[in-house]
């Protein structure tokens, strides 16, 4: 059948099972939006306040569901507003397809109104991108975009379409999605070598990252560690792969990781890195990190091998594929001495002093966890609250903690929470933010209100730019340059102005009371949680240092 370019966009989305897209219309996107109007029974379009919010929403949708997130925008500023969102997805390997409209081909290169060279701008932050100025290239580009976004290590792809293409006619037939690029073949010898080293380990540690979630290998990871009695440390991106109830889960590793995790890395004789990339927030000093260990690495991306830390043995492949093949050869083991040692480290966790008239962030996180079920999805922004959420929430399941790991994007949270809620309407979604992060993109409150999304936003409010403030306290002689903005924003009133519900809590009892109310609400709720600005994220290993220099209080 003959279709217009805009119909091709809609049909290819349907071919890929896309029923939800996030975006914002504009001049060059008019044809596409006109078609979305006609397809509204099959494709739901969520209009955000700002394109950045739409990109984060598509990202949050992908993280919560494992499906591809789709974001749509117009040319020029619409396209540039996506950039932070695309970069966020790129750093965390999230499958995202961004579709941007551009000016008609006849105007390309003439600095036309709202013209921008978005394929150039997004070149280093996408896996690949396409500039489509011929109708016959449109369908192949769109189909390829979904294939590339989901093949191997996942990531964002952008398709830029000139306006004339969106109205041009072309022959079209519906087809299933293209086959993904085959996974790298796991090498038998690599498996044998790695298994042998694991079987001979006395003090093993598994260092797991976001790759375990991307490869849906959580069950296999759990099998491995149970079978071989391997303590586990996780990156921010792998939060929830192991339940917090699991004794072998030592918690977050790295800069704000637990003492137990960082000590275990330091003392281990074998480290098995699964889908993790030895980032500077984990292997802060690559020369001294895991100094006693033989390091093994399994990753789907060949370029991650030996990038930051040199490893003894590696296997390039999908984590799940690797584990399924390796597990039968892994010996059942008990490392009594090592096990007891690391678990003892774990028990010396930080105790915070409870007070009736003061609320510690840890208490908020604990209380939050206790008041919701295990299916609840937590979405964070970036900064101190993010670390407290990672450290103190009781994580039970994977894909239930959504956070900007690699790029550390303040303002990520609200959009991502909206995306997560659209992807999983049956799950409770809680957005944890700080007063500074929230100020960046709180405009998305209007989106939550318009769509009647019962997202609870917990604002950990210390009235400062907490994480930077903490560094200034520790390393800059308490010279608080531009971290104490003296804002007078009243979040309770502001929530009301947006048509949401706002509460404030200064003590844990107040928090519990308003949280009970919030859980009953059918629309968005904000809870402004007032905490002390001197509250720090601990433990803390300063940049470039090792566990020797860990600050615990």
């Amino acid at each position: 059948m003959k279709l217009t370019g805009s119909q091709v966009v809609a049909e290819v989305l349907l071919d890929h099972g896309v029923d939800t897209v996030f975006g914002y219309p504009g001049g060059t996107a008019l044809n596409i939006y006109d078609e979305l109007y006609k397809y509204s029974d099959r494709i739901r379009h969520i209009l955000t306040a700002h394109e950045q919010g739409a990109a984060h929403a598509a990202d949050g949708y992908a993280r919560a569901t494992g499906k591809t997130g789709v974001v749509l925008s117009t040319s020029g500023p619409g396209a540039t507003n996506l950039v932070t969102g695309i970069a966020t997805a790129c750093m965390d390997s999230i499958p995202l397809v961004a579709i941007t409209a551009n000016v008609p081909d006849s105007l390309i290169g003439r600095d036309a109104f709202q013209e921008i060279y978005i394929t150039g701008i997004t070149l280093p932050i996408t896996k690949h991108n396409y500039f489509v100025n011929k109708i016959e290239d449109l369908e192949p580009a769109l189909r390829d975009a979904f294939r590339v976004a989901n093949s191997g290590r996942k990531g964002p792809v952008l398709v830029d379409i000139t306006k004339d293409v969106t109205s041009a006619m072309v022959e079209f037939t519906n087809k299933p999605p293209l086959e993904l690029k085959p996974l790298p073949k796991v090498d038998k010898d690599d498996i044998a070598d790695i298994v042998r080293i694991i079987n001979n380990a006395e003090k093993p540690v598994a260092y797991i990252g976001g790759g375990c979630i991307a490869s849906l290998a959580c069950r296999e990871v759990n099998e491995l560690i149970e079978k071989a009695d391997i303590p586990v440390v996780h990156t921010l991106m792998a939060t929830g792969v192991l339940s917090c109830d699991n004794e072998l889960n030592l918690g977050l590793v790295g800069m704000h990781g637990s003492v137990a995790s960082n000590r275990a890395i330091d003392q281990a004789d074998v480290i098995i890195a699964l889908g993790s990339r030895f980032s500077d927030r984990v292997a802060q000093n690559p020369q001294k990190w895991a100094r006693k260990a033989r390091i093994l690495q399994v990753d789907i991306d060949n370029s991650e091998i030996n990038k930051n830390v040199m490893v003894e043995k590696n296997c390039v492949g999908d984590i799940k594929d690797f584990l399924i093949k390796a597990l039968p050869y892994i010996d059942k083991a008990k490392h009594y001495e090592w096990h007891d040692k690391v678990v003892a480290w774990k028990s010396k966790e930080r105790v915070v002093k409870a007070s009736p008239d003061y609320m510690h962030p840890k208490e908020i996180m604990n209380k939050l966890s206790d008041m919701v079920d295990d299916e609840t999805i937590f979405v964070t922004d970036v900064g101190q609250h993010q670390m407290w959420a990672a450290q103190y929430l009781k994580h039970k399941k994977p894909m239930k903690f959504i956070t900007s790991g690699g790029l550390g994007t303040m303002g990520f949270g609200y959009g991502a929470a909206i995306g997560a809620k659209m992807g999983h309407p049956e799950n409770r979604v809680i957005h944890i933010t700080g007063d500074a992060s929230f100020h960046m993109n709180l405009n998305e409150a209007c989106t939550a209100v318009s769509n009647n999304l019962p997202i609870i936003t917990i604002i950990i409010n210390n009235r400062v730019l907490g994480m930077v403030y903490q560094w200034q306290t520790a390393f800059y002689g308490e010279r608080y340059s531009n971290t104490c903005p003296e804002r007078k924003t009243d979040f309770v009133k502001l929530a009301d102005a947006f048509g949401a519900k706002g509460y404030r809590a200064s003590t844990i009892n107040e928090f519990e009371a308003v949280m009970k109310e919030a859980l009953k609400s059918e629309g968005p709720v904000w809870i402004d949680c007032v905490i002390d600005r001197e509250e720090r994220v601990l433990p803390f290993i300063p940049g470039g240092k090792t566990v020797e220099e860990i600050i615990v209080d």
């Binding site: 150039g120 070149l123 690949h128 500039f131 060949n302 370029s303 040199m310």
Partner: protein, 169 residues
């Protein structure tokens, strides 16, 4: 663990499309590699182009840039052109001021290097020379005794003498 920098030459087979050079070069740029020379040319396959890149790297960083470049959708294959089993060639065009008196001695040098004088005016001449980079370097060294005004070098292009690496897929 870190080996000193050495000059490396890689050959990249890429799809023959717009923007491909930018993608490859930008990848080098953002990983902090400074490119010494670069040539792009058509191949016998109209769908593919070849990019030859000369740059400095340590062994570890070499591995990194190769695996990072391999990931690009437009890259079909990338491989190191080893000195041992590859041929390198470079073309030089050089303009030198030469009065009538100097012509003979310059011609003598050009002949020894089996170059060609391709343009001649009353004050200057243009010399064309093809060869390995070392040969060009050697010629440059000798000719520099004269008044060299302009130099153009194409950068290295190279080929494996045994074509087993020519295609990845």
């Amino acid at each position: 663990m870190y080996k000193p920098l050495r000059k490396e030459i890689v050959s990249v087979l890429v799809l023959n499309q717009a923007n491909v050079l930018t993608r490859v070069v930008s990848n080098f740029g953002r990983r902090g590699f400074n490119i010494d020379s670069l040539t792009v040319s058509a191949t016998n396959d109209p769908d593919l182009s070849r990019i030859t890149i000369v740059f400095n790297a340590t062994e570890q960083s070499m591995q990194q840039i190769i695996t990072q470049t391999e990931k690009l959708e437009v890259v079909k294959s990338i491989f190191i052109l080893n000195r041992e089993n590859s041929l390198y060639r470079e073309l030089l065009l050089l303009k030198v001021n030469a009065t009538e008196k100097e012509r003979t001695s310059i011609k003598e040098i050009v002949d020894i290097y089996r170059g060609k004088i391709v343009d001649l005016s009353r004050e200057s001449m243009i010399i064309e020379l093809t060869g390995t980079p070392e040969k060009i370097d050697g010629f440059m060294e000798v000719i520099s005794a004269h008044d060299v005004v302009e130099v153009c070098r194409t950068g290295i292009t190279g080929i494996e003498s045994n074509a087993r690496n020519a295609k990845k897929n």
